[in-house]
Structure formats: structure tokens, C-alpha cells
């Protein structure tokens, strides 16, 4: 220790002040983590990333009033888009599902309806939720569902079979390159989702 001067070290109060500021960054970062949840939703809905369709669901899979889009102003008769339908039942849900219409050729802007046949092959009443996805992803924002069985949870009695409808419009703004759009549903068992894997089917 060579040259020394009287200590000019800052007082504990300075430390506390800086520490509190840093704690505020921590709190902000924690809040930011939660803010990312709606932010990603907004980003996906705005851009159609992740195949998220526009007239989408609110939290909990419930259709948000006002989120339903207005009907398009025109029908583009100059081109045809093929819409393919497919459905999967996720593990833990003893149901079967298949589209009654496999493919549909339509002009962008036309209003159409398609139906899925869903059957509960178990001896219990089960609540399911369908989650949609559109491919290619950037077609999603032009695929508008006016009504859909995926907007709310579906309850099927033991052995019940039901036709589940879906009303939609492919908007004329869809990219000219896109000739085929695939709409895929995954049906989940709402009750069993959180059970440990072992207790599930």
C-alpha cells in the first residue's frame, strides 16, 4: 500500500440508492416476462406467425365479441384456392374426429361452411377443446373464421357423435402465390391436460 489519502468511499446510503434502482430493473424484467405473453399473441395475430388465424379466440378459447371480422367487400372470381381440412385427436382424449369435407375449392371472398364429425368412443362425458392452425403460416391472417366449434369447449356424452360446423372466409387479400391452405385442428382433453402422464390413457 503506497500512496494513501483519507478514504473518500461513498456512504451506505449511496449503495442503497443504487441497489434500489437495480431492484427496479429486476421488477421491470419480471413484469416484462409476463408482458411477453400478450405481446407474442399480438405479434402472432398481427402477422399470422405461428399459423394464428385472425378472428381468433380470446383467453380460454372463448370468442371475443368484436373480434369477428366484417365480411369482405368483394369476391375474387379470377382465382381458386383449395382449402384442405384435417383433424387430430391428442393423446388422453378417447375421441375420433374426421372432416366431412376433405377439400374445398373456393374463390377468395366467398363464405363457406365445413363440418367435422366428432365421436366420443368412451363411456364418460368429456369436455374437449379444438385448437386450430393454418399452414402456410402467412396465409393465417387472411383466413377468417366467422363461427367455429373451436371458439368454445365442446362436451360430448358417452358414445355421442356430433357434426361440428365451421364458417369461414378466405379473404381476397391472400397472397397470389398461395393456391392451397390447410386448416388443421388438434382436439385436447380439457380435464386431463394437467394430469401426470402416468395417470393418462
Amino acid at each position: 500500500m503506497e500512496t494513501t489519502l483519507p478514504s473518500t468511499a461513498p456512504q451506505p446510503r449511496d449503495h442503497q440508492r443504487l441497489a434500489l434502482k437495480l431492484l427496479m430493473i429486476v421488477a421491470a424484467a419480471f413484469a416484462f416476462g409476463f408482458a411477453l405473453v400478450p405481446l407474442y399473441d399480438v405479434l402472432c395475430a398481427a402477422t399470422g406467425f405461428n399459423g394464428k388465424t385472425r378472428a381468433g379466440m380470446g383467453p380460454g378459447g372463448i370468442n371475443v365479441p368484436g373480434a369477428v371480422a366484417s365480411p369482405p367487400s368483394r369476391i375474387d372470381l379470377t382465382r381458386v384456392v383449395t382449402v384442405e381440412f384435417t383433424g387430430t385427436v391428442m393423446p388422453g382424449l378417447p375421441w375420433e374426429m374426421r372432416p366431412l369435407t376433405n377439400t374445398l375449392d373456393l374463390h377468395p371472398g366467398e363464405l363457406h361452411q365445413a363440418k367435422f364429425l366428432v365421436h366420443n368412443r368412451s363411456s364418460e362425458t368429456i369436455v374437449g377443446q379444438a385448437v386450430p392452425s393454418v399452414s402456410p403460416g402467412h396465409a393465417a391472417q387472411h383466413f377468417e373464421k366467422l363461427d367455429c366449434f373451436c371458439f368454445k369447449q365442446q362436451t360430448l356424452a358417452p358414445g355421442e357423435t356430433r357434426e361440428m360446423p365451421l364458417t369461414f372466409i378466405v379473404k381476397p387479400e391472400i397472397d397470389a402465390d398461395i393456391r392451397t391452405v390447410t386448416l388443421a385442428y388438434a382436439f385436447f382433453n380439457v380435464g386431463a391436460q394437467k394430469k401426470p402422464l402416468k395417470e393418462r390413457e
Binding site: H15, V26, A29, F30, P59, Q129
Partner: protein
């Protein structure tokens, strides 16, 4: 006032502390001294290094041959996940924090850390957290629960939403470890900002402190996001929320975004302290001033900033849209530019220097070569087209072990060999140190080099059994892993031996060192820089 020891009495007299000085276990439970806390961090890290190492040796033993010989797949899954969590959160991070505690006050001429009681608390949160992480293994022996978290360290939903109680233990362990890291980081930032010796401007701050400063800021910006993500996981599991539950309108991919928003900066959190320490070691044993001090500081800052905007390259195959893929590919590759600056500065520091090859220098050189391979293979993985093939393969495993073992652990060992004489007052056994180095480097490459080839051949990671064509490389890798694991016992012995005695170290320890810490005696007294030095 009790006079437990003459040292304590001396300290109390000299500095007028009114507090009591308990002895025995209470001394360690209540200590607020940066050197004692630093030692506790380092010893804790060393113990957990062996705990995590034992877990992965069991995994490698299972992978020695195809088929299931030693364990069930569930237990295998638990071992790989807890191995990673232990190594990252309980070994590497505490080791770096131990370095910070010991070195930052010595290097900047501060009497202690700015917030000594928080420092104590930061350390004592670690043992309970490590216990929480590993307790489910022991509980399972008594038939309670189904073992530790079995999702891999990434805790991906929906698997982690459905997993057993091991996931809850991991969530709480991560919360506690996160609080500990945040407390440590706040303390380090406050110390560096407020307690530098008069005349030490930010651009005279030693590079090790700069590296830690960026790490600390990354920690307080990203650990809370991880805490938020695992909190969402917890409420999804038990309180009926649907953040990651597709059936309830949630999105499992969201978890990946949140996790890697923390997870990628975490890589730099682990490596920045090591990058900060490297120039000190290289300059010492090249007997030349550090080349490109400013360039290295700016590279640290650039890497810190870039590190938080590239996270999605960890799941390029999750179905991201093309514009996002391109963005994450280019931004990830951009990180190689500031990193290349660091590499060139390290090499330029050695250029035409009067080099000598003591153990710390050997580790530093091994670090540069092997960490360079981690960087180059990382560029391959960042390429969207190539990643489609290599994603989730053993290529990734090999890549990040070159980054985190050769980069992280060998970097920490560089620091231990470099500073241990200063801390203990005794020189390290050079013969054993060099033996440890060569065994480590050779067996490390024996372990992980074959895993590159396994990955290129298509072997997926995180599986307990594999196709027959992978048998030879896996056998080689397992042999390497056992040599690597047992070589580390030499390291523990060298450290123990150096603490117990040995050739007396001078104040400067190494011929070419520069910096405030080398002006103090070896070992430094319990309280140092009570009167701050002045930097001209």
C-alpha cells in the same frame, strides 16, 4: 468483546468494529467478509461440480453400450436434466461469483463488497436450492414421488406441465437460485460503480471486472424472465391457468420463447467472467500489456446486447416463419464478430511476448483453442438450413460442452490456478497442475470429439438407448468421460494441497503480473484496502 483469535482481535482493534466475531460454524453462517464468502462460493461450486459430474458419469456408463443395462429411461431423463441444472446454476455460476467476491474488491481497491449482508444471504440461499434440486432423487428411494425433474434442464411445456413433483422441486430451486444470482449481481454492480479506488475511471477498470459487470446486468435483466416463466409453469400445473396449455388457449411454444430469452444470455453470463479473466492471465505469462483493452470492453458490451436478441436460434425447427428464421440466423452469426475481436486480442497479447507455460497459461491456451471450436461449430448450428439436420442431435451436445466445459469450466480452472497462490499464500504444485491439465484436455477431446461425429451421423440427444451403428463412438466417449471425471480428483487434491501448504508465494506471485491485487501480501489480510489506494 470476545477475543476468539488474535486475528479477529487485530481486525477489531484496527478497524474499530463493534460486532462480535463468532467462531466455528457461526463464523461462516454470519460472515460478511468478501474473502470468506468468496471461499465458500468456490468450495460449494467444487462440491457441486463433483455431484453433477457423478450424475453424468452414470449417464455415460449407461450409454457405453446400446441397450438398457443400468437404469430405466425415466431415471436417465432425470440424471441428464439435473446434471445440467447443477452444473450451470450450482457449479459454474457460484464459481464465477466466488471469483467476483475474492477479486473485485482486491482489483478495484475496495475494502469489501458494497452490500456485505446481502452478500452473505446470496451465498446461503445456494445450499437449500441445491438440496431442493437433488432431494427428489433421495425421496424416490423411500418411495415418495417419482424422482427428480425428468424434462431436461429446459423444462419444455407441455412435458413439464404434466411431469411429477420433481418439476415443482426444480421450479422452487430455480426461484431460489435466481434470487441468489440477482442479489450477487446487484452487489457486484454497486461495488464496481461506488467503491472503485479514487482515480480508477471506468476505462481503467480491470477487464475481469468489466466482464463481470456485463454479466451482472445480463443476470438482473434475464433471470426475472426465467422466474416469470417457471412461475407460469407452476400456476399452469396447480392453479388452473393456461399459459402453455393449448387446450385452454395457451401456447407451448411461448415457453420456449420465455425460456430462451433467459437461456441464451445465460451462456454469456457463464462465459463473460472467464473472458474477462483471460487477458489478465495471457498478459501475465506473455509479459506484455493487454492488447486492445478498449476493443475488449466494447466487445463485451456488444456481446451483452446481441446476446438478448438472438434467443430463437435454440428452436429454429419449431416452425418459425421464414422472416424470423432469417433474422435469428443473421443476428446469431453477428455475435461471432465481437467474439472474434476478443480472440484476436488474446492472440495479439501473446504476439512476440516472452511466453512461459505455467499451469494457468496452459489452461488459458487450452481454453482459446477449444473454445474456438465451440464458436466455429456454433456458426454451423446457427445456419437455418444446417440446423434442420443437426438440431437436437449429439452435435449440439458436443458444441455446448466445448463452450461450457472447455470455455466455462476450464476458464474457471485457469482462474483458480492463477489466483490460488494469492489467496492461500502458497504456490500450486506445478507438476500435478500440468498433469491435471494434460489429462483434462486429452480426455475432454476423447469424450466430446466423437459426439460431433455421432451428431453428424444422426444420433439424437437425450435418449438412453441407440442404434447399433453408434456403438463405437459412444464407447470411446464413455471411456473419455471416465478419465475426464476422475482427473478432476487431481484438481481437488491440488487445491487442498495448496491450501494446506507449499512453497511460499511472493506478493506479486507471477513475474509479469500487474494490478492492485498484486500489491497486497499473499495471502491478503482478512481486511484489505481499508484505506483506498489512489490510481494516478
Amino acid at each position: 468483546m470476545s477475543n476468539a483469535s488474535s486475528l479477529d482481535q487485530h481486525a477489531a482493534d484496527q478497524h474499530g468494529y463493534g460486532a462480535s466475531h463468532p467462531s466455528g460454524i457461526l463464523r461462516w453462517l454470519t460472515t460478511t467478509n468478501h474473502k470468506e464468502i468468496g471461499s465458500m462460493y468456490l468450495i460449494f461450486a467444487l462440491i457441486m461440480f463433483f455431484v453433477g459430474g457423478a450424475m453424468i458419469l452414470a449417464v455415460r456408463a449407461e450409454l457405453f453400450q446400446p441397450g438398457l443395462q443400468l437404469m430405466q429411461p425415466e431415471f436417465f431423463n432425470q440424471l441428464i436434466g439435473v446434471h445440467a441444472l447443477v452444473m450451470i446454476f450450482a457449479a459454474l455460476m457460484p464459481a464465477a461469483t466466488g471469483f467476483a467476491n475474492w477479486q473485485i474488491p482486491l482489483m478495484i481497491g475496495a475494502p469489501d463488497m458494497a452490500l456485505p449482508r446481502i452478500n452473505n444471504w446470496g451465498f446461503w440461499l445456494l445450499p437449500p436450492a441445491a438440496t431442493l434440486l437433488t432431494l427428489p432423487f433421495i425421496l424416490a428411494l423411500f418411495g415418495i414421488g417419482d424422482g427428480a425433474v425428468a424434462t431436461g434442464w429446459t423444462l419444455y411445456a407441455p412435458l413439464s406441465v404434466q411431469g411429477g413433483m420433481g418439476v415443482d422441486f426444480a421450479i422452487f430451486a430455480i426461484h431460489i437460485l435466481g434470487i441468489s444470482s440477482i442479489l450477487g449481481s446487484i452487489n457486484i454492480i454497486v461495488t464496481i460503480f461506488n467503491l472503485r479506488a479514487p482515480g480508477m475511471t471506468m476505462m481503467k477498470l480491470p477487464l475481469f471486472c468489466w466482464g463481470w459487470l456485463i454479466t451482472a446486468f445480463l443476470l438482473i435483466a434475464t433471470i426475472p424472465v426465467l422466474a416469470g416463466a417457471v412461475t407460469m409453469l407452476l400456476t399452469d400445473r396447480h392453479f388452473g391457468t393456461n399459459f402453455f396449455n393449448a387446450a385452454g388457449g395457451g401456447d407451448p411454444i411461448l415457453f420456449q420463447h420465455l425460456f430462451w430469452f433467459f437461456g441464451h444470455p445465460e451462456v454469456y453470463i457463464l462465459l463473460l467472467p472467464v473472458w474477462g479473466l483471460m487477458p489478465h492471465v495471457i498478459s501475465t505469462f506473455s509479459r506484455k500489456a493487454v492488447y486492445g483493452y478498449k476493443a475488449q470492453v466494447y466487445a463485451f458490451i456488444a456481446i451483452g446486447v446481441l446476446g438478448v436478441i438472438v434467443w430463437a436460434h435454440h428452436f429454429l425447427t419449431a416452425g418459425l416463419p421464414v422472416p424470423a428464421l432469417l433474422y435469428f440466423m443473421y443476428s446469431t452469426m453477428a455475435i461471432s464478430l465481437p467474439l472474434a475481436v476478443l480472440f484476436f486480442c488474446w492472440i495479439a497479447t501473446m504476439w512476440r511476448g516472452a511466453m512461459s507455460f505455467e499451469t494457468p497459461m496452459l489452461f488459458a491456451l487450452g481454453f482459446i483453442v477449444l473454445f474456438g471450436m465451440a464458436g466455429l461449430t456454433g456458426l454451423v448450428l446457427a445456419d437455418v438450413a444446417a440446423d434442420a439436420q443437426y438440431h437436437h442431435s449429439y452435435f449440439v451436445v458436443a458444441h455446448f460442452h466445448y463452450a461450457l466445459f472447455a470455455g466455462g469450466i476450464m476458464g474457471v480452472m485457469t482462474g483458480v490456478y492463477f489466483w490460488l497462490p494469492k489467496w492461500t499464500g502458497h504456490m500450486v504444485d506445478e507438476k500435478l497442475g500440468k498433469l491435471h491439465f494434460w489429462l483434462t484436455v486429452i480426455s475432454f477431446n476423447l469424450t466430446f470429439m466423437p459426439q460431433f461425429f455421432l451428431g453428424l451421423a444422426g444420433m439424437p440427444r437425450r435418449i438412453p438407448d441407440y442404434a447399433l451403428q453408434f456403438a463405437e463412438f459412444n464407447a470411446i466417449s464413455t471411456v473419455g468421460a471416465f478419465i475426464l471425471g476422475f482427473s478432476q480428483l487431481i484438481f481437488a487434491y491440488v487445491v487442498w494441497k495448496c491450501i494446506r501448504g507449499g512453497e511460499k508465494a511472493s506478493d506479486k506471485v507471477w513475474e509479469g503480473t500487474e494490478g492492485l491485487e498484486w500489491d497486497l501480501p499473499s495471502p491478503p489480510p482478512l481486511h484489505s484496502w481499508e484505506i483506498q489506494p489512489v490510481i494516478k
